[in-house]
């Protein structure tokens, strides 16, 4: 898994590539936590390069979402069909704001 973080004026864009499972989900959690700890409450998570996510990845998303939802939010960009399936199975597709492109997600704040 590769994670790139780009700090912008009012938000952070976190781009993830690869598979997110229990062997590496803590790295995603660390990246999200670091941005939140630095005072960023508007997060865009670009999942366009993620072809696999298990419940370990979902746990990290939910933990971050809970920390920022009051002041900002965690918006998801271009998740693959399989990641959308996982979100639906967990009942999270109605909770997270999901956008078809990175541009849409970035302009949503």
């Amino acid at each position: 898994m590769d994670i790139q973080v780009e700090r912008r004026e009012h938000l952070s864009l976190i781009e993830v590539q690869g598979r997110v499972d229990s062997s590496n989900a803590d790295q995603l959690g660390h990246a999200l936590t670091q941005e939140i700890s630095n005072g960023v409450s508007r997060l865009v998570l670009d999942l366009g390069g993620v072809d696999y996510m298990s419940s370990a990845g979902l746990r990290e998303l939910v933990t971050a979402y809970k920390r920022v939802s009051a002041q900002g939010g965690l918006h998801l960009a271009q998740p693959s069909e399989r990641v959308v399936d996982i979100l639906e199975m967990a009942g999270l597709d109605t909770i997270f704001k999901i956008y078809p492109s990175k541009t849409d997600a970035l302009s949503s704040f």
């Binding site: 229990s22 298990s54 419940s55 746990r59 809970k66 009942g91 909770i95």
Partner: protein, 137 residues
């Protein structure tokens, strides 16, 4: 079909995934079914490592066996943790509540066609089944 024995550590999940992919491909499963087998095995093994093996200072190994019968491709996960049948856990249906755990068994039930558990010789045996396509039977 095959057997894999790995240390009971989360770092082994990618190796387990590769083993499952190879066996499921050999069994003739579709890409979606292979993905389902990988997800269910990942969730089951993660559950053993995070919970079943939590109290071990030296983590025991995990054994995975794959097999075929006329109708199903089967992955059996054998662990040395305490007697625990994950299939007795209440299935967590999709919910609007924002809880951050407990999806594993729900995912296993959602993506696999059948699951069985037995306790034998101080080991837990969890078997996960995916129906074979007609062309592979």
């Amino acid at each position: 079909m095959g057997e894999l024995i790995v240390p009971g550590e989360l770092s082994q999940i990618p190796r387990i995934q590769d083993f499952v992919r190879q066996a499921a491909t050999q069994a003739g499963l579709s890409e979606d079914s292979i993905y389902h087998c990988q997800l269910a095995t990942d969730e089951a093994c993660t559950n053993v490592i995070e919970h079943g093996y939590a109290k071990f200072s030296d983590r025991p190994s995990l054994t995975l066996n794959t097999s075929l019968d006329q109708s199903f491709f089967c992955i059996t996960i054998i662990d040395q943790g305490p007697d625990f049948n994950p299939l007795t856990l209440l299935d967590r249906q999709p919910t609007t509540e924002m809880k951050s755990s407990g999806w594993g068994i729900h995912f296993i039930r959602s993506v696999m066609d059948k699951a069985e558990y037995k306790r034998l010789d101080n080991h837990n045996y969890l078997s996960l089944y995916k129906r074979l396509p007609k062309s592979s039977r």
